[in-house]
Amino acid sequence: MDQLKRALDFCTRHQAILNYSLVSLLTALCEYIFSVVLFKCPCNSDNALYGISFLLVPAFILFLLGCIWNARMWRLVTGCHQEKCCSSCYHHILIPVLGRASVAPLTWIAVALLGASSYECAASGNDIIKNFMCKGVSKMCQAQVAEIPCNKTLSEKMSKGSLNLQAQSQLMGLFLILLIVIVGVISTCVSHCCSPVSYMQLQFWKMYVKKENELFQTKAKEHAATLAERNINSFFQTADQTPDQPADPTAFQTPSNEDWKKISLLYTFNPEEQHYSMIHEFVNTDRGSTAKFGQGNKNPSVLGFVDEAGQSESGI
């Protein structure tokens, strides 16, 4: 039991990288199934369009899904028509959100390139590749290039000792993976290096944000249940009485619209105060009424997890 608990703790601590690995594995599996079951290169003048759509369209759909699935995106977007949106927030928040949403599409593209069928099909319809492969050869060559994906022996004859299309595709896929890894490392190191907060405090902070989110779900359900019960009981009791003398509903303390707006603001870090979330700041500044509320003006990228806490309750 103890060891199982330790294994679970390990998983919780490295949850981010485990999540990304799981997403990558699932995407890789889906791409493999797609290319084996669905992909059939037409081997004519439509090669380029077919290959590129199989490569890029699912990636774009995954990107959109990644954006929709991000709770921080909804915090940024909700109500921004009425409120004055923080224009500088867009740089600090949109870029990390878009970065996270690009994990699945880039994995799709990398795995598709490693599989080589999409690129081979697209490249065999591309004029630049056709001209390169058909330098100094008869005019029939250009038509033959389009048939390479359907005829394996043709590929060897036409590649003239340089890398064939499949090998080119696989090398591009590997370089893309290396690029993603290097960019990921640099951005994570930079965001941690520039962190205004120490390592242990960050660990505690992550735990606090997670707990607050879980308790928020529970408390919100309880509060909603109590309020709904009061309303419905009041309604049915009113029905018993005469229309001239409705029963007064019992007083019920619920946060106001202003209170909800205050806690839905995007989190900004204030080095002078030690607030771990907008709810914490709201409570410590006498329900947001003192001048200290909302005084934070920094958006360190390492604290992005504070707004992403409501991952399961995104805008859908």
Partner: protein, 309 residues
């Protein structure tokens, strides 16, 4: 039941060995899948580049993942731009390189496993070296073979050369044999180096064997209790905040460490032989939060790189 408990206890005691064996099995499985599904030797003059990229890029990715998964990396780098003195403390400039070296050695385990498994399998090396244009190497491999060997070696991996089948087979077996010998050399070198470094570290240790064992146990227990206390305070604080938000109650005081206390607790621990402190928190509690000068680290951290958080 008793026998089962004994067996379970035995496995729990060997969890490091089991962990590494599991990692080795995963690497072997991954390498097989990768070489069967993805790897297709082009059998052209680009073999060398293709083979090397396939051999080394997964190793690089595994190295990076190794760095990521080590919590010491983040302890070292968090906040280093804001306060560079944290990683280059006065009078102890080498501290950063020492710790980074430790982290690197830990992270090198997975890539070295990948390289040894890939070399023992032979596919990547065979493809890469059949495309090597070095005349000395070509003459060594094509020794006593037909003249076509020098021109058509790169086609041997796909069985597409015009040489007789026996010659082609022999060349393939030679390349595979070279690959496997290189793989064994990598394994033996790594094992010898690990043994040497562990012995050196133990030799230079200023602390006795049993105290070292106690230190490991203490570090593990402190880590577990820290997690429990974090959970407890996180729950208390969030319950208070949510109650105040929904029910408009006055918030009661919950004492938490301030910024500076967290900063001090996050410093990497360096053992000082004049004091007997087993962790940064231990030192802070016994000595308060004043900065004390420390001796140069002993090699203790080096031995316990896997176990000390």
């Amino acid at each position: 039941m008793d026998g089962f408990q004994t067996i379970l206890k035995f496995f729990m005691n060997q969890k490091t060995a089991i962990g590494y064996s599991f990692m080795a099995l995963l690497t072997m499985g991954g390498e097989r899948v990768f070489s069967l599904v993805a790897f297709r030797c082009p059998c052209s003059h680009e073999n060398f580049r293709y083979g090397l990229v396939f051999l080394f890029s997964p190793a690089f990715v595994l190295l990076v993942i190794g760095y990521f998964m080590n919590s010491k990396t983040w302890k070292l780098f968090t906040g280093c731009w804001v306060n560079p003195r944290k990683i280059f403390p006065r009078g102890n400039i080498c501290h950063f390189f020492y710790v980074f070296g430790q982290i690197t050695l830990n992270a090198l385990v997975a890539p070295v496993m990948w390289l040894s498994v890939a070399l023992l399998n032979g596919t990547f090396y065979e493809c890469a070296m059949s495309g090597l244009k070095n005349p000395a190497y070509l003459h060594a491999v094509c020794n006593s073979k037909s003249a076509r060997c020098l021109e058509e070696l790169h086609k041997v991996a796909c069985d597409k050369s015009s040489m007789p089948a026996s010659e082609s087979d022999e060349l393939k077996r030679t390349l595979q044999a070279q690959s496997q010998i290189l793989g064994w050399c990598v394994i033996v070198t790594t094992a010898l180096l690990s043994l040497l470094t562990t012995c050196c570290a133990s030799c230079q240790s200023k602390v006795s064997h049993l105290q070292l064992m106690f230190w490991r146990v203490y570090a593990q227990k402190e880590k577990e209790q820290l997690e429990q206390i974090f959970q407890l305070y996180a729950t208390k604080l969030s319950e208070r905040n949510l109650k105040c938000f929904f029910e408009n109650k006055e918030p009661e005081m919950i004492p938490l460490p301030d910024f500076q206390a967290w900063e001090d607790a996050s410093q990497l621990h360096s053992f000082s032989s004049s004091k007997q402190h087993y962790s940064t928190i231990h030192r802070l509690v016994e000595e308060g939060q004043k900065e004390i000068s420390e001796e140069r680290e002993t090699m203790l951290d080096f031995i316990d790189r896997r176990d000390i958080p």
